[in-house]
Symmetry: C2
Subunit: 358 residues, 2 copies
């Protein structure tokens, strides 16, 4: 693998780093490339923790902005290597990671190398394990080990936002809903109790559920309640005694994780419900002075962020944070994930202009 | 492992061979023990095919009876080694395989060694892979490789029947019922289609289904339609695009496998249904002369066999066959599988008396 060339265009750099697959848990190769490309740059102090890389300027500015992006993706589904495609006359880069979120990472890497004299001090962060259990998240690990590296007045996550500024984020809860039965030979099913059949009302409640839309600080957040896994069965001739449904609840930031947990238990009243993963949402946080300056500089109308992002992690540390990155977030994790080339350039221009201006 | 001692009582022999775990696919150790114990006996001609062992007398009798049993079990579920227990004053041997069907196999092994001068020629058969796909079944493999070994006028399967004679058996069909959707990030569920939610009507139809009871040649067969596995999901934050429900249909022997397939497709109308495994049932077959003699000798009132057993395989080869073995079939595959010691002795006495009488 040749070294990562940060002088190429953000579009080319996106293509290059997408073609280094980095599904969660398998980020080391890409982290090595990023580490190698940055460690020699004189204006940056580079730290590494596992597959998380932090690069900081130390220019003595009175304010500091953190700019972060995760380098992992969800599993590849026959959508790598990337391809250049044209859709309705518009050129796109197609493939896993193009939207979530290597185009954003590519812009950040290029600017980290080139912005040697920014108007604020910068803390660039590229991290692992964002797409899996919150407990594995590289940023979370680093926040515990090196909280000093998170000191900042404002943070920008490069998560896809169609080049707009998306404020706050929904909270995220995952629970297991379980049914239990009694095993028996399937030739004598009446001697057992079928735990999979007992899960029928769980799926019925999910398919009938109508998610809420909730206004928070002027932005409207859309919720979601979805089965993301179902699992049951022992053998082809055994009545199963256990069925597990893993349910993901995305909830507006006006609701705490505790309230979200109560809500889900209420939806599945009568069933065993265990929380396996939870993360608070973040209110929009757009009243911070740097947020106002940033919004004015990129000329964007703020919108709500539906997905949970690590803005919530900065928010919890008292650092106001927004999402700003290329790519349509509704195509994240999609088999047809693809980013318009123009948005990559646009986000690069937006960030460069704001960070360069005196 | 010491050699298998076939002079011990059938009860002790049951305990011994149950404590040699032999979950389907892992029968070699037990097959080796059986092979070793029989190969030196002068009245038997012993064949081996994989983990299936056949031992035949060649006494020139005008009639031949095949007596068969499978040596595999469903997976162990914290129910080995065996334990001696007493329930309501009655002594039992408890543990995986005691009912399905090592007590029957133990009786057969003991009689194979001891009945050196039976009234009919005997073909003893112990085989592997009965508890899994019909395509793996050792008896099926042998029927293709050595059909000559199946020549018989009557067959007895030692499947658990509470020491009664159970005629025929239900047919067995396994199908996959699938739903498909569109993947998306679970934070934007409305961009995808949740294949697990789409499976709600499948589970609803299963849980509402009322199985038939069908009279065939005077015996009443009870059917069953059950999910035995469900599987869906990609990651904790992805709307799943596929859900599979594996359904097992046990059907009365008056219905062909083709009719059974049409019935299941009808139940799941509107969904993708693929047959993955199928086995015809067997009508009771109790009008055969040797069947009549056998019923008279053991003094039993015949009953229907609910579970599919390899009587259907003999039946398909034109050999009338019944089930006769110790153990309550409703406890087969059950976590509390256990056999009354008295039934083991009773079945040994029944078979010994009929096979020894001039």
């Amino acid at each position: 693998m040749p070294a990562l060339d940060l002088t190429q265009s953000s579009v080319d750099l996106t293509r290059t780093i997408c073609d280094v697959p980095s599904v969660s848990g398998d980020e080391t190769r890409l982290a090595d490339l990023i580490h190698e490309a940055l460690r020699g740059l004189p204006h940056l102090e580079v730290h590494r923790d596992g597959d998380t890389i932090v690069a900081r300027t130390g220019l003595g500015r009175d304010r500091r902005v953190a700019i972060a992006g995760h380098i992992d993706t969800v599993p590849v589904n026959h959508n790598l290597p990337t391809r250049d495609i044209v859709d309705d006359g518009e050129p796109y880069l197609w493939g896993r990671g193009t939207v979530d979120m290597k185009a954003g990472v590519a812009v950040q890497l290029k600017l980290a190398a080139e912005l040697t004299d920014p108007r604020v001090d910068l803390t660039w962060m590229w991290y692992d394990h964002e797409e899996v259990d919150a407990g594995l998240n590289g940023l979370s690990r680093l926040a515990a080990a090196r909280p000093d590296l998170f000191a900042a007045d404002f943070a920008i996550l490069g998560e896809p936002s169609n080049g707009a500024v998306e404020g706050g984020c929904n909270g995220n809860l995952r629970v297991l809903v379980r049914t239990r039965g009694v095993r028996a030979h399937s030739a004598r099913a009446w001697m057992g109790e079928n735990a999979i059949h007992a899960a029928a009302p769980i799926l019925a409640r999910l398919s009938e559920h109508r998610p809420r839309e909730v206004a928070v600080d002027g932005l409207v957040y859309r919720e979601g309640l979805n089965a993301v896994r179902i699992d049951g069965g022992i053998a082809g001739n055994v009545i199963p005694d256990l069925c597990e449904v893993e349910v993901n609840y995305r909830f507006a930031p006006s609701r705490s994780v505790e309230e979200a947990g109560r809500y889900v238990r209420d939806v599945f009243a009568g069933f065993d419900v265990d929380v396996v993963d939870q993360a608070s949402g973040a209110r929009p946080g757009l009243d911070a002075p740097l947020a106002q300056e940033f919004l004015a500089a990129v000329g964007a109308e703020p919108r709500p962020k539906y997905g949970w992002t690590d803005v919530a992690r900065f928010s919890a540390l008292g650092v106001p944070a927004v999402n700003y990155g290329p790519g349509d977030p509704s195509l994240a994790h999609h088999d047809q994930e693809r980013v318009p080339l123009a948005q990559i350039d646009e986000v690069e221009r937006g960030l460069r202009a704001w960070l360069s201006s005196p």
